[in-house]
Amino acid sequence: MQAKTITGTSNRALEIDLTSRTFREVRINETDLELYLGGKGLGLKLLYDRLTPGVDPLGPDNKIVFSTGVLLGTGAPCSGRFEAVTKSPLTGIMASASCGGPFGMALKTSGWDALILNGKAEAPTYLVINSEGVQFKAADGLWGKDTDSAQDELLKEGNGALVIGQAGENLVRFANIRSGHRFLGRGGMGAVLGAKKIKGIVAKGGEVKIVPVDKKKFVKTNRKFFKAIEQNPMTSGSFRYFGTNANVNPSNAAGILPVRNFTGGSHGEAHKISGETMAERFKTEWDTCKPCVIKCGHKGTIKGQKRHIPEYETMGLLGPNLEIFDPEVISDWNELCSYYGMDTITLGGTLAWAMEATEKGLIQTQLKFGATEGVAEMIRDIALGNGIGKDLAMGSRWASKKYGGEDFAMHVKGLELAAYDPRGAVGQGLSYATANRGACHLSGYVLALEAYFGMASPHATRWKHYMVKYFEDAFAAMNSLHICQFTAFAVQLEPPLIKLTADFVIKLLNQNLSPLALNLMDLSLWPELWHSILGKRYIPYLSMLKFRKAGERVHVLERYMNTREGISKKDDTLPRRLLYEGRKCDAKERTVPLEPMLEKYYKLRGFDANGIPTKKTLKRLGIEIK
Amino acid sequence: MNINKYPEVKPGRKPLKRIYLAIMLWTVGKAIPVAAKVDPEIKKEFEKLPKNFTLRLMVQPERAFPLFFYTKMLPGFVVKNGMLPYGLQMILHIDAQGKVHYQGADPRGKKFDLSMAFKNLEAAMMIFSFRESTPTGYAHDRFVVEGYLPCATTFMRVLDIVQVYLLPKIIAKRAVKRYPKWFEMPPWRKHINRIIIYLRAFTF
């Protein structure tokens, strides 16, 4: 059936101009691939080459790039992911999002490594992509439809679709893009598509077959990878059986579960929404990205319907953060968000802000902590732009600028915090502050070491800058492969050196000799996969360092692009609540000592005191200065 | 919120400045009745004031400056006649004959017809350490006057002349607007007056 075979990678990108309804094929430079790996890195590079700083994110000059990685389509474990990058309407800076939906596979097997959207369609349109190019089709019938039915319509024309809901159409700043049951969640990419009047994109898929260049090596590495994943208790145990909500109980125990708009860190009722409880209560089964071996995505029977189980972040932010502990209600809201196409993290953060603002007389709504009344209506109002929902649809930063309450608007650079309170894991605080897209937990997931594995002290600031940089680089590289970030548990923790060392020794080493400990960490599985697919020679350790440097390059490029939009040290901060307010659950009323960590971090990264990458740093990384 | 994080702050004290001012007020207070006897000009000024008139110079707020701790241990007449410095007040009484008496620093049981008060300790220090002249101090709102106002200017004139007597010229020139030329008395008289005032002021 498959007509063509691509060995390695196709290096073709499809650039579409919506204004003129034209498209062209763009060859991806070999050096760019070498430097940026693919996925997020390459997507950013494509965007960097095209985007003028200072454009309106919702204007025709903004561009959105969907980029797949080298691994996708080869059958590498947990590789079923693709990345989108754009300038975010929520934050005004770069946003990148990763998604495990079927669109990535369909795009890649239509023979395209990346998709670039320019301009703005005049009328609602949807795009059909095949190996030849793109067809522009009128979306009059689809415009105004929810994501479910719109996606069903679109999937008639291909294997994988991207679709926005009414939230995206109404330019809700945190609208997301749906593909299958998964989402390009953060940064409001749905609004970017909505502003471009693109209801959906469907890729035909299945037109080409992708095979690695060095098959033998690939198969060997693959096997090692599977083994690691099967050995790791996170990837083969808790995540596999309880989903990401396996995090609820450890978070609650570590005091990093946000309660009542981040005024508390743990709650007695938190067990009600834990993965363990829900697995039993809703009789969950797997519903995952493809391909996947970890299988963290689950569905279950809730209120008599088969529903996707809300992920941990959704649970945390629509649950304890609003003082709600009923998973059924949270699932209702989650369904509503999927239906309209909105990011649940930003929504949760914004709702919590609205509740506190209501309590403090800044706005008048029905919302109240611990009460479910009015929440569903508010979600609808936000998606449809009714009443005060129109303001909340701009996110908590905008709303708090208009109505006040900036001291309890929990966002960094406009992006709301994920469901981890860094007062219980200060390294995560630094990571939130420095993450490129805003308060992102996926930029450098240091809290796993601090709060879950006991491999770093949660309140010490020593060497945290090093850990944050290390993980930021590693994750940026991972997102460029592009592979699931949860594989990190397996790749990083399963190699014999770390596996056989006692945790307290690691903690001691990590906290006091972090560079040594982290440099001894073996990440080779990832670069080995990438090298084998492209048929490049893999040199042990050195290639791993090169891989980490590529990650660093991707991170610094994104940072550099952000600084061109006006980001500097003043934005690398945390919500005032985290910096200045202690919590009652914490006898010492700790806060995040950000400043000293941040200074060291800048130095380590090669940024100047104002947080701007120096020319030297950019040159070292081979980033062309514009 | 834990309100104990923000404790109340009770006002502290500046004991040295208090003692300094008490001694200054005591000295001036003791000098005035003597000066009223020997200096014709002061005498003339006091004649303008009503009889049975009590006035005082003090530092506000009164409640913050109680009498010195040892006052209670002294016999009544010592306190009544102001034989030692007791506090930050200077009470003068003009009796029915027009004679001026210094009555110490104890305001209890007295009724004042005129009360001139420095607004605070630092204001009094500015004047009594001669960093500000009396007129400048007045212009800078360093003190408030209560009671029969027209006498206040008279009293300030008296203070000016007493300062000229008590202080060496180099300091007194800073303290008053115009250093007098002593037209009306021979220079030896001035010095004799000065000695008398000093002697009488510092003997009991």
């Binding site: - | 007129p135 007045y138 212009a139 209560e146 027209p150 607007k177």
Partner: protein
């Protein structure tokens, strides 16, 4: 403008000014939640028909509780008690004072009794008895430049004890001062001249006396500019509302300036001749002003020299060498008095001997001068004069002022160190 080592400045009364400003009173009162004011005034004002002007301007937007026009020239506490009783029986909720200093002080007193209750003002004597915000008080000054609408003390006499009672409190400040040229439109020429010179004196003294500060300077400077530009024109054309408005503004600004920087020997002499010989305040001011400038010339020549700019304009200022400016200021003021004398056909006196009462009798005889000189010691204004001012000095000044001859600068007593502002 050097910043003094210490100053305070306060002019917290809301001022509204303009040609038809009286009409704004109802809405301003409504903002203060009052609608039934009592108008307090004196016979003199009533006789000129100004109260009718006010009542007409207030229109039917509010009810006037009572028009009380019985305030005497030297008001005392019995008048206050009387008015307060009427205020209560008529159920008023605000006061509009129309008149000069005495009326305004009385109104302040009435406000104390009416707002805080009780029968007599005597209950509230002394510091710290007025402890809360009083009822709305609107003042409409009719004579220029008393400044008492801006001050936070009410002075009310107690004839029984022969003293003036002081009621100092932040709470007795009026809420609103209304400057409307209609209030001064009908003022006769001689009075226009003397009230304007009164304001001029306030401003000049504010500019050189000890408590001066940049803010009072600035207000004083502008007041002088306005008066010197407009006074003669208004005298030539009494219906010139713009000019009247400028003069009224000038006197309000002079009031702000001197109530913050205090005044000096001119006021000292003025108060004394006022008390002893009943010389009208404004007249005394215009006569003594040149002497005040001359007497303090050696102390603050630079500062007095700056006044030439305000008085004569930049061209003359620039054309006069710096050393001659102070004398020129004095000459200028003298010339101004002379011009006013001419413009009012001799009704504006140039020296003390020209001051006469209604019947043409001389108010100040030469023999009274020593007594006046002695009495200056009872007035506080001498304290803020830059140079020491004693009865002997006063006598020199007075005899010159009586004759109308310039002061012999060599005879002014000097001594002491430089003045620190």
């Amino acid at each position: 403008m050097p910043l003094p080592s210490f100053y305070d400045f306060c002019c917290r009364v809301k001022t509204i000014s303009g040609i038809n400003t009286l009409e704004q009173i109802p809405s301003q009162l409504a903002n203060m939640k009052a609608g039934r004011p009592m108008i307090i005034s004196d016979k003199g004002v009533a006789a000129t028909g100004l109260i009718q002007v006010v009542i007409q301007a207030l229109g039917d937007q509010l009810q006037i509780g009572e028009v009380y026009d019985q305030v005497p020239v030297d008001s005392d506490y019995r008048v206050v008690d009387d008015a307060a009783k009427i205020y209560r029986t008529k159920g008023c909720d605000a006061i509009i004072a129309v008149g000069g200093g005495s009326v305004i002080d009385t109104a302040k007193g009435v406000n104390i009794v009416a707002s805080l209750g009780g029968d007599t003002l005597l209950d509230y004597e002394g510091l710290g008895t007025v402890k809360r915000k009083l009822k709305p008080l609107v003042v409409v000054p009719t004579t220029a430049g008393t400044g008492s609408e801006m001050t936070l003390v009410a002075v009310i006499a107690d004839p029984d004890r022969k003293i003036k009672m002081l009621f100092p409190s932040y709470f007795i400040l009026p809420d609103l001062a209304v400057i409307d040229p209609r209030m001064t439109k009908t003022l006769p020429a001689a009075l226009t001249a003397s009230t304007a010179m009164d304001a001029m004196t306030h401003a000049c003294e504010a500019y050189y006396c000890l408590e001066k500060n940049p803010l009072s300077d600035s207000f004083a400077f502008r007041a002088i500019q306005l008066i010197s530009q407009h006074l003669l024109k208004v005298l030539q054309n009494p219906a010139d509302l713009q000019g009247r408005l400028a003069l009224a503004n000038a006197s309000a600004m002079a009031g702000i300036a001197f109530s913050n920087s205090m005044v000096g020997m001119v006021h000292n002499l003025g108060h004394t001749v006022g008390a002893l010989c009943h010389v009208p305040h404004g007249v005394a001011m215009s006569i003594f002003l040149p002497y005040g400038l001359e007497y303090n010339l050696h102390r603050c020549a630079d500062i007095i020299g700056e006044l030439l700019f305000a008085l004569a304009g930049p061209e003359i200022f620039a054309a006069t060498p710096k050393s001659e400016r102070p004398e020129k200021v004095v000459t200028f003021i003298r010339q101004m008095n002379q011009d006013l004398h001419t413009a009012t056909t001799g009704k504006h006196p140039r020296c003390l001997k020209e001051v006469v009462d209604r019947n043409g009798a001389q108010l100040v005889s030469q023999s009274m001068l020593p007594a006046i000189a002695e009495a200056i010691m009872l007035d506080g204004a001498r304290l803020t004069n830059p140079e020491e001012f004693l009865p002997t000095d006063a006598l020199t000044v007075l005899s010159n002022a009586w004759e109308g001859s310039p002061l012999d600068l060599k005879k002014v007593n000097k001594g002491g160190s430089k003045v620190n502002y």
